[in-house]
Amino acid sequence: MKWFFHFHSGIYLSVPVLLFILIPAAFPLQHSQNTTPPDPAFVSMGTLSSLYSFNNDPSGTLSNPDFFSWEEVLLPGNSFGYLDQDRAFYIKKNLFVLLFLTVLLVAGMSAFWQRKTRNKLRKTAEHLKTTLTSIGDAVIATDSKGRITCINPVAEKLTGWSATEAVGKHIAEVFIIVKADTREPAFNPVARALADGITVGLANHTVLIAKDGSEYQIADSAAPIRDQKGSVTGVVMVFRDVSEEYSIQAKLRFNEDRLRKTLLAANDGMWDWNLLSGEVYFDPRYYQMAGYEVDEFAYRLDEFQNRVHPDDVERVMENAQQHLQGVLDRFHVEFRFRKKDGSWMWILGRGVIVERDQNGTPLRFIGTHTDISERKQIELQLIQNADFNTALLNAIPTPVFFKDREGRYQGCNRAFTEIMGVTPEDLRGKTVSQLWPSEHAEVYHKKDIELMENPQHQVYEFKIRDKDGTLRPVIYAKDVFRDHAGEIAGLVGAFLDISEQEHAKEELRSLQNYLANIIDSMPSMLVGVDPEGTITQWNAEAQRQTGIPVEEAVGRPMERIIPQFADELDRIKSAIRNRQMQTDLKRRTRQGNETRYQDVTVYPLIANGVEGAVVRVDDVTERVQLEEMMVQSEKMLSVGGLAAGMAHEINNPLGGMIQTASVMKDRLIDRTMEANLKAAGEAGISLDAIAVYMEKRKIIEMVDRIRKSGSRAAEIVQNMLSFARKSDSTRSSHNLAELLDQSVDLAGSDYDLKKKYDFRKIEIIRKYDEPLPLVPCEAGKIQQVFLNILRNGAEAMHEKKEDLNQNEAYSPRFSLRLAREESAGRIRIEIEDNGPGMDKETLKRVFDPFFTTKPTDRGTGLGLSVSYFIITENHGGEMSVVSNPGEGTTFMMRLPVKDGRNG
């Protein structure tokens, strides 16, 4: 009571002071919203009370919403909402204080009222009334029955009842309240205060329904009014409109809920580190995301640290420390966190200091944990991929580069650097025109644009100038790459230095030309065929022989182009199959009157990957003819050899015969020989008588006949010997006149000729230059030539004679001429007959081997060709023929006076 009086004695001073303090404190929002931070003392108190209510709130999260805006925590960099967080705190606190003071005041007033004088009381009442009227809260006082005794203007406004209407009415009539959530009638605090005589605290979530039906969220409280004896004489109720406050709270709850859901959805866990207490709060999600039960480990920092990977913990704490020290404006670190199952998850830890004391010392540090395992895995994979790609690019020996969509280089590989001499750093961000000679850059640029416009694999040949300034031909290959949206993000290009290929191509080309030249220069017909017999190769000789140009032959079946070789197909196939050369020698073909010989050789192609064969056709007619001539020659030589062997044996008996006959004739007719005279005398007969006898008996004639016959035999042997006298190895100088005459003689003894007619009946006219130089030759062969010409001429003249009528005069005649051609160092031999002559057709082919106008049973057709061969080939001479039908034929030969043999 003493305190009470003391209190009362000061109340006159105290009330205005209190009001002065309380009224602005009760409505801080109106004054300080969006202005300066509140007094740190209030912040501090608010923080503590918030923590208190937080910790005691069974729901765990609900009582904490007014602390700060979560969005602002999650969006670091914003300033924190000090005003918002503190608003509710002010309201609550001030209500308490106000209520308490009001109760004191009213109680005091009541006691005072009874004690002081009426006048004074009235004055005081006026004063209080003014106070009540001025106060921001609604105040209603009742008597002990609950009837309203006093209602201030704020209460009037909220209830909708004027003081005059309300005073005297029961409180339940004027003050109608329902529960905000259920709309059920709310318990009226006045009733309880009256009934129980206690102060009824603030009830939340109460809606006041005004007289006009409008509703207000109110916070109310009621305190009993006691008299001096302590009896309850009434109740004073204070309430206020908290609609705004309520909606803020609702919003906070909503935000809170949203936050919780967001964190849940984001898989984020929240932590809240009280730097004063060292306690670290982990929210349920924090536990769950790592597989722990909620609250499985204590709210301690070391629990967190123990679960951070040993390799990361230092870094994490360093980062936190730097933020606490103000080096970093926020805590942001990635680390591995041990899950309950022992495995590691990647966490992105973020946080900020949210509270500091007046010295700026951090008090509270809040943040989140985000599970970034998946991202981290992708990230690690990306790092590995990037590393792999770099290694891959650098391992490729082909220069590779890449550019962005605008054609600016973004990089290149090692091979590119090695050739072009620029590093990825050198070219990054540059365009082609900044790097390369303009004449190249223009083309590069044009091609890049083409590729961008038509994004298909691009390949083209161009050139580069390398770091040494060497111009190199290259093949470019480019492709675009796209971003995640499928838009072209740039291009990747590579190029291949084809200098060597070009060089090789050039070499190949020249080699091909070279080979083609060789093949075309071959005197043989060369025909390449594939296994099906299609012509793949056709050389110049083939073209020349067949008259079919290469364009018509290649690619067509062999049997159509050269049907005469169709029968070689089997041989070709066999050659290819067995990989063995096949030959068909001296293949005989008939071309008009002429027989031609060909050697066909089939070579299988044995190079890898090439199937086919080359058919080589050689015209060996000449060789075959030469062989035939050789045979003929050999025949003659063998005759000669035989004659040589026989000659000695025949000459001896001939010698005995002829010489004896000579001696015999001498002894018969020589009348001067002493031995004859002596023998005749001894016989008793005269030589004259013997001569008469011999005359009568034709003895001398007979002896001469013996001698002549012997001599003829000797001549024949001699002529036969001329074939053999000149073997291949010997050659000596001869008088052509002698050889020609011998040949004439030989022709006369030709048995075949003589059977038909006598060669000796042919007139021989000789016109030989004198003197004739000797000619080095093989006499046997030259005679063979002469003999052949004479024989042919004789036969022709004989035929002409037989064709003529008996009446017509015709005498066969040979004109033999030998003339010096001094300037040329030759002797010309002419053998002319006056036979039927030859037409042009025959004339053209008269030296062709096997060409003959004679019936097949006579003559081989070799004679003149052998003659031609002997004169031209063996003796380095010339041979020709001139003839006109009906005018005879002249064979002309020229032999060099010096040895004209080849070699």
């Binding site: 040589a644 000695h648 044996e649 000459n651 010698g655 005995g656 001498d666 020989m673 042997v717 053999a724």
Partner: protein, 134 residues
Amino acid sequence: MSGTALSILVLDDDDAVRESFADFFEDRGHRVLQASSAEDALVTIQTANADAAVVDIRLSGMDGMDFIRRAAMLRPRLACVVVTGSSAFEMPADLAGMQAVSPKVFAKPVTALHELDAELKRLAGEIAGGEKAE
């Protein structure tokens, strides 16, 4: 008829040929020595004087050329004329270089025997003349 009579050796293994030569030379007044082999002929020219020789080449045993070589050592002044039926005969160089060997070779059958006679006389006279000149 020339009065120069010679002593002539006829060397030939063919009897008919040798006899015909012998008859011919005897008819011409020469003294004729005959041999059917080179070996016999060598004996003959040592035992009898011979001015000239008609030499066949192909002989059984020693051939005509070797005979000439030996004879040249035994009787250097023997005038030798080769008569052969062989067509392939060519005078060896050593014989061709001898004064006593005739460069003229007669082929059998010898149809002009008087030419042979004349050559023998010429050659023998040449040799004898050369000797006298010494």
